[in-house]
Structure formats: C-alpha cells, structure tokens
C-alpha cells in the first residue's frame, strides 16, 4: 500500500512539474526551429511582423486566465497587464492589433496546426499533433 501511495505521489509530482512548463509551439512551416525570449516579445508586441521568408507572423493568445498564460507573459513581459498595455498602445496608435484569442489550449493546438506562419503557447503536457516546439519555458 505504501509503495502504491509513493508511486502515486511521484506520478502526481512529475505530472504537476510537466504541467507547469510552458511549450512555445508553431506551425510546421515557420522558418525557425528555436526562439529566444527577446524574439517572442518582438513577435507578441508586433515589433516584428514577418518571418525571414517574408510570410506574416500570426500570434495567438488564450482568452481565459490560465496558469499557462500567466507564466508565458511573465516570462516575456514581466506580467499580463504589461503585455495588454503594449497591445493597447499599438492599437490606439494604429500600429497593430492584439493577437487573436482562443478559448482553450486544445483550440490553440488546432489553430497552430492549421494556420500558416502561426505561433502560440500551451502547457508542455498538452503538446500533441503536427506542431513544432520552439522553446520550453521552465518555471
């Protein structure tokens, strides 16, 4: 019985760790295989709008307030509020639009699979399907 409980605890512990990690994923056709924190901020802030092959960069956000979202924006911009302020400034200056929001991590994966030039983020444990993982953000 003790062994079963220990196994359960270890499984939950590692599942929790895996769940806490954020995977930055992209459509298979993007011309990069890894991405840096500075590049992510450039893409999400709209400072850089095209890939090196001149195709547009399509970024996706998640609408609900999920841990994965908090951790992603904390990593690239210190916090979600600051990211929202950057998007609002771009929009009110006519310099860009906020990213399209999806309602769940499952929808994020579907969108990334089917949208050419797209990039987004999900929990590492949720990564599946025909997408490219560019970065794993460890807490």
């Amino acid at each position: 019985m003790k062994k079963i409980l220990l196994l359960l605890f270890v499984t939950l512990f590692f599942y929790g760790k895996l769940n806490a990690q954020v995977a930055v994923i992209a459509n298979k056709n993007v011309p990069i295989d890894k991405v840096t924190k500075a590049q992510l901020l450039d893409y999400y802030s709209g400072d850089i709008k095209y890939w090196s092959n001149s195709k547009p960069i399509i970024v996706f956000d998640i609408k609900p307030k999920l841990d994965v979202k908090e951790e992603f924006y904390e990593y690239i911009a210190k916090n979600t509020a600051r990211m929202k302020s950057i998007w609002m400034k771009k929009m009110l200056s006519g310099e860009g639009n906020p990213p399209e929001s999806v309602i769940s991590e499952e929808e994020m994966i579907r969108k990334i699979e089917t949208t050419s030039g797209s990039i987004g983020f999900v929990s590492l444990s949720k990564v599946r399907g025909n997408v490219k993982t560019l970065l794993i953000i460890k807490k």
Partner: protein
C-alpha cells in the same frame, strides 16, 4: 539596361502587392473619459463639475500587407457646437507603408514622436492620470498654448528601429507645417494651411534595452509674425521670422512592480535679444503596482514661461509664469476595458511681479476611462 530596370521594378511591385493578402476587416473603436472634479480656490466657494473630458473615435483598416490607414477624431470638454462648448478636431489621418522593422513611412496628419508621452498623451486608457502632465493636457488647450511645448502635428515621417543583440535603436524623422497657419479669424485666405514656405523639421532617437527606454527629441521651425501667436508681444513690431527650437529628453524604467518615468522639454526662441519667451517643462512619475488591478503613483510636473521684453520702455510688460503641480492618484482596473481613476492635485501658479494673479488651488478628481 532597360530589361534590368523592368526586372527591378517588377521585384519592387511584387514586394508591395503580395498575391495572398486577404482583405482585412474595417475596424471602428474608441475610448472616452468622464470625470468629476472639485476645485478649492482661495477663499471662494469650491467649484464642482462633471465633464466628458475626452472622446476619441478611431477608424482603421489594413489596405494590403504593407499598407494601412488610420483616422482619429477627438472631442473635448462636453463638446457641443450649439452651446460653444469644447472642441472637436481631426487628430490623425494617415496611411502607413511598412517595409520592415527598420523602415516605415507614414504620410498624412499624425502626432509626431517627441518624447515618450507625446505618442500616448491623448490616449487616456493608457495613462493613470486624470489631469495629465501640463504640456500634454489637451483639455487645457483653451488657456495654455500646449503646442509651444510639443509638436502636435506632422505630415510625413520615416521611422523604425535597428536591433543590435537585445538593444533596439529607435529613430524617427518628420516634417510638418510651421506654426504660421491661417485661421478663419485672421481671414488670410484658406484656413488651416501654412502661409509660409517654412517646414517644421523634427526627429527622435532613442534606445530600448529590456525594461529601460531613453530618448532624445528635437524640432526646428520659425514664427513669422509673433503677434499672431502670442498676444502678449503685440506691442513689439518689426520682429519677424523668429527661429524656435524644442529640445526634449525622456526616460522610462520598469522594475517589477515599480516604474519610473520622467521628461524634460526646453523651448528656445532666438528673438535677437529683444524678447525672452523661452519655456521649459518637466515631469517625474513614480508608480507602484499594488495588485494586478490596483496601481498607485506620485507625480510632479511643472512649466515655466518667460514673457520678458528686454527694452527699457517695456519694463512693465515683463513677467514670468510658473505652474507647479504635485499630485498623486490611484487607478483600479475593473476589467481590461474599464478603469476607475482618482487623483489629488495641488496647483501652484506663480506670476512674477503680479501677486494678484498668483494663486494656490487644490483639485480632487475621479474619473472612469472606457475603451470600446
């Protein structure tokens, strides 16, 4: 040679009109700020007022992958043409060409980059203030000549940034009209156009590194006839083509929950030692994010304007006006689109040689800022 030119031309055309561009949606959005203000002034009864301080309406459309158009209408102070209240203006009307992060071109009426706050000065959802730092408080336009401090209009701009590792070097260069614009009141022909062959020439260089942003801005233009710009100097005749230089510097820093921003502007006129009408402005803000929704700040801003006529016969005309406003406030984000703001400000107006015009007053204000 002709063939080469045709090939180059076709390549350029191909860059401009990608075949895969899908027609984007026409977007209409805006924001407004409604405020309540109570003013305590000398021994008089206090004044209270509600006001639609500002309403901005935007239209935006991406015309192709590289071209986009933008329109911004601004209505101030409970605007009503029938009651002669407030003001309405065409704030921005431009088309932009995006070649790359290094080069953008903007043609049409636009707010030029001059210090950090000028770009967002009229965008109330981005600001914690109800009364903004003075040089940027557009609802004070009726009694403070804000355009002396900052350029509010340009018509042609090249801008972009050059990344070097994690540092970005921003640049902008722009052209616009000089301040010698004909109005319906002056009856100098078609209103709203520059009556001279002088340009406003300006630019900004800056750098961004992680959470620090610094910049240096400057403009040059000339005032042809001072009498049309400032009534105080009507007594001086024969003073023509006065060069005006604006110099500005700004800094912005974020440290986790604390942020700091500051600016300085100096306006210099070369009036051949006949008059001194130089001006300066600064603001310093220290902010602290208490929670995700609640933000607090302390701000100090000040303007100083010289009105000196350096001729013995006009000694009585000389004066100096200083306005200093320490203030603090709180902002609560109800959600992404609605903010509640509160602010307390102490306004100290000091007019040299005129104690009756100098005064001290206190403002309590509250506002709701809505983005829609």
């Amino acid at each position: 040679m002709k063939k080469r030119l045709i090939i180059i031309f076709l390549i350029i055309l191909n860059v401009n009109t990608p075949a895969q561009f899908e027609e984007s949606a026409f977007k209409a959005f805006g924001y407004f700020q409604v405020s309540f203000m109570q003013q305590f002034f000398r021994d008089q009864l206090d004044k209270k007022t509600f006001s639609v301080q500002q309403l901005n309406l935007f239209l935006q459309r991406d015309l192709s992958e590289n071209w986009s158009a933008f329109v911004d209408f601004e209505l101030l102070n409970n605007y009503s043409s029938g009651k002669s209240w407030g003001d309405i203006s065409l704030n921005e009307v431009w088309v932009k060409y995006y070649l790359s992060k290094r080069f953008n071109l903007k043609i049409g009426l636009q707010v030029p980059p001059f210090n950090h706050l000028n770009e967002i000065s009229n965008k109330t959802p981005l600001l914690p203030y109800i009364i903004r730092p003075l040089a940027y408080e557009t609802s004070f336009n009726e009694f403070l000549n804000l355009e002396d401090f900052i350029p509010r209009r340009a018509f042609f701009q090249m801008y972009g940034f050059l990344p070097i590792e994690d540092t970005k070097f921003d640049y902008a260069f722009y052209l616009g009209n000089s301040p010698n614009i004909s109005t319906k009141a002056t009856r100098a022909g078609q209103s709203g156009i520059d009556t001279t062959n002088i340009f406003l020439v300006g630019g900004r260089v800056g750098l961004r590194y992680e959470d620090v942003k610094v910049g240096f801005s400057a403009t040059y233009d000339e005032i042809v006839d001072l009498k049309n710009i400032d009534a105080h100097f009507q007594v001086i005749s024969g003073l023509k083509n006065i060069p005006r230089v604006r110099i500005g510097t700004d800094i912005l820093m974020d440290f986790k929950k604390v942020n700091f921003s500051a600016e300085y502007i100096k306006v210099l006129y070369n009036a051949k030692n006949l008059i001194d009408m130089d001006k300066q402005f600064f603001y310093v803000t220290l902010g602290y994010r208490i929670t995700d929704e609640l933000y607090s700040y302390f701000c100090l801003h000040s303007t100083q304007e010289n009105y000196d006529i350096e001729l013995a016969d006009y000694a009585g005309y000389s004066t100096k006006v200083s306005i200093t406003i320490p203030n603090f406030g709180l902002v609560y984000d109800i959600n992404d689109r609605i903010k509640l703001k509160g602010q307390f400000a102490r306004v100290d107006v000091d007019v040299k040689n005129s104690p009756t015009d100098s005064f001290l007053s206190y403002y309590y204000s509250a506002a709701i800022s809505v983005f829609f």
